[in-house]
Amino acid sequence: MLEALPAALGLLLTMQGMLVLVIGTALGIVLGAMPGIGSTVAVALVLPFTLSMEQAPAILLLLAVYAGSVYGGSISAILINTPGTPAGAATVLDGTPMARAGKAGEALGWATVASVVGGLFSAILLLFAAPQLAAFALQFGPVETFALICLGMTCIVTVSKGSALKGLTAGALGIFLSTIGGDPITGEVRFTFGQYQLIAGFNLLAVVIGIFAFSEILIRIADGASEGGTKIEFKGIVLPRLSQWKGRLKGLAKSIAIGSGVGVLPGTGSATAAFISYAEAKRSSPRGAEFGKGEPDGIIAAESANNAVTGGALVPTMALGIPGDVITAVMLATFTLHGITPGVRLMEDNPVLMAAIFLGFFVINILLLPLGLLLSKVAAPILRIREPLMLSAIGVLCVLGVYYVRGNPFDLLIMFAAGVAGLFLRRAGYPMAPLIIGMVLGPAFELSLRQGLIITDGSFAAFFDGHPIAAVLLTVTAVALLWPLVRALLSWKKERSRA
């Protein structure tokens, strides 16, 4: 990879190369910042334009839009409580309370720096260790994936604000919704009540947008939309001072490691990474008790992990030809259209192009900072638009975003229903993040568990025996679940002996 760098630089440092990076990143941020429009829609929108471009600019444009939209999502998540992706749901947890407390600029500042650092680090990993990381990914079979998902499921407890019981209920509802549709092992159709549209299951994006963005609109209408702008005060991004980072760097490093690590494993994705990272930060941060009330550590954990995934997800895509999600799958298809064969020999056969792509990815992450600062200035006046107008605009964007992904009008019904359900559930004090975790992890949980049982001939014991990685992950999961109980028991004993 390294010997191809000079030639790759030549490919990148052209007028067209740089223009594509700047425009792509800016476009990604703007699209991602629109409520209801997430990375999937953003990438799908620019795809037709790449068809007439050269190989390198085409891929770089997609990458720039991808990385830009992941960052842009944090803007709408923090400022108007409407994430466009499942991963953004983790940013909302602390971003929205912080913005409501009058510190929207600071919240976006933390999110911006965390995103840039997370993205840059994953770009370096990609540049220097893609083959090694790909080899690591191969160690992860169904049994190991299952163990990782189990660990991810413990996040449901962590993000359950208020009542753990309500959080678990929401999580279980999410898992149940994910079982509707085709059975991944037998192909049979479940819980559709004869509705053919439900064969494809509940579309995750439609539910996310319904439950967060659309129900937000309904809640504001129910509360009586104000004639002025929103109550969020925002004058532009306020970057955190260096001294404010004291005591937060360890958490940042850990979140980036989690993001890159989870990103490397195909089939998990950025929402999983953001939530695992958030849960781990809440456990280990000295300010853990403040999580959910507007704690910067929570924003850092979610945003750095979420952007580190973008680089991580490119590892199996580029090194093995195995896309980790819908977006990387689109990228592989773009390779094919430009006469490049994606797969195990991609990096070997196209060293200069790949080096240019990896370098470009690095540049994109640097660009996030100035472009983010610049573009968020535009967001400030938009927030002052009369609320009824703004809510209508958000509603239109939600409908567009949901319809564009699968072209299925039924998904719109799902979105509306999820919006109404979200209104009542949120009013009743049910946290929504657990529901999304349940829906994101549910399918992978079921598939990996049943695949694992096929491999081990139905033996759970074999999940530990001969699968050391899985054994470690499952033990960590058990400890994470039992530790609060043990701690409560210990402190109770201490109290009693004192009395």
Partner: protein
């Protein structure tokens, strides 16, 4: 009297050949999968030459979900006006409706033309010790219920290829099946040593480290003259041939004149230089069949695949 005259006008309007100037508006080609997938790319390569040959406009629309059955169900429920066609594969048109409860079946279609057909192959890992299906059979018999074949999902062409092979060798009950969510994850299992066998088309060979042991076609491939056909490897008919094919379908009952118009545009598109070049660069094996031939082929495939589905236990 006024009402009567309206009815008369309407009846007259229906009686005149309204099809004469088809197409009066753009024809929508539905890809039953996500934007950026293989089927979507093929349709986008096909769209322009098709529109040109038709003398009109054509747009590609994606409608994903349920292994293609959501889009197929939608199209089957439309009125047959020729303005909405679906690109359906062997699995969407003949296999999924036989294993899932969907609102379409063998009689729901007016087949227009077939566009592509690639034979499937039996693959093992490139560094595997198996060099023939005989080796595979012997090893499975020596280690019953220990070896695993993968698939991209239940009822997918990758699954049926393996079912044909394992049944053809008589070892179906001694080998396990591990379904995945797509061919990519299955290839990861292959590289990680979790599965030993996989069946897909030749395109996979250029992407992953695979060794082909047999091809499910009536003759050897020109590009791989050393790989025996399934028949040569000892697999008897009807399990010896399996093609991943796809083509354009309209809802049942489409006017014959419109069908002919669409089919001739389809033929023109398939033979156009632009589409030939596209097929070359993406490893698509072009295979044109006209409406009657495609209809007969579709019905024959429906019945032939019933055997495979039963053998797969789906």
């Amino acid at each position: 009297m006024k009402f009567g005259s309206i009815v008369c006008t309407a009846a007259l309007a229906l009686a005149t050949p309204v099809w004469a100037d088809f197409p009066e508006k753009p024809v929508t080609l539905i890809a039953p999968f996500n934007a950026g997938g293989g089927t979507d790319l093929l349709l986008r390569g096909f769209q322009e030459p098709f529109a040109e040959a038709l003398g009109g406009n054509a747009v590609v629309q994606n409608m994903a979900g349920g292994s293609g059955t959501v889009a197929a169900s939608h199209i089957a429920g439309l009125s047959p006006d020729g303005y909405t066609l679906g690109y359906l594969s062997i699995t969407v048109s003949t296999i999924q409706p036989q294993i899932k409860d969907v609102p379409y079946d063998k009689e729901s279609w007016t087949p227009i033309c077939s566009v592509a057909a690639s034979p499937t192959m039996f693959f093992v890992g490139a560094d595997s010790e198996y060099n023939s299906l005989e080796d595979v059979k012997a090893d499975i018999e020596a280690k019953p219920n220990a070896l695993i074949f993968g698939s991209s999902g239940p009822g997918a062409i990758t699954h049926l290829t393996m079912v044909a092979a394992m049944n053809g060798m008589g070892v179906m009950d001694k080998v396990k099946h591990l379904p995945h969510k797509g061919s990519g994850p299955a290839m990861k299992s292959m590289a990680g040593g979790i599965i030993q066998f996989f069946g897909d088309t030749e395109v996979m060979m250029s992407r992953y480290d695979l060794k082909p042991l047999a091809v499910f076609a009536d003759e050897r491939l020109a590009s791989l003259p050393d790989v025996p056909t399934a028949t040569e490897a000892g697999i008897a008919a009807p399990l010896n041939e399996l093609y991943l094919w796809g083509g354009l379908f309209a809802p049942a009952g489409l006017d014959a004149e419109v069908t002919a118009k669409l089919a001739s545009a389809c033929e023109g598109a398939v033979q156009s230089n632009a589409f030939q070049a596209f097929a070359e660069s993406t490893g698509t094996v072009i295979n044109y069949r006209g409406p009657e031939e495609f209809d007969a082929f579709f019905r024959q495939q429906w019945d032939a695949n019933k055997t495979l589905i039963e053998a797969a236990g789906l």
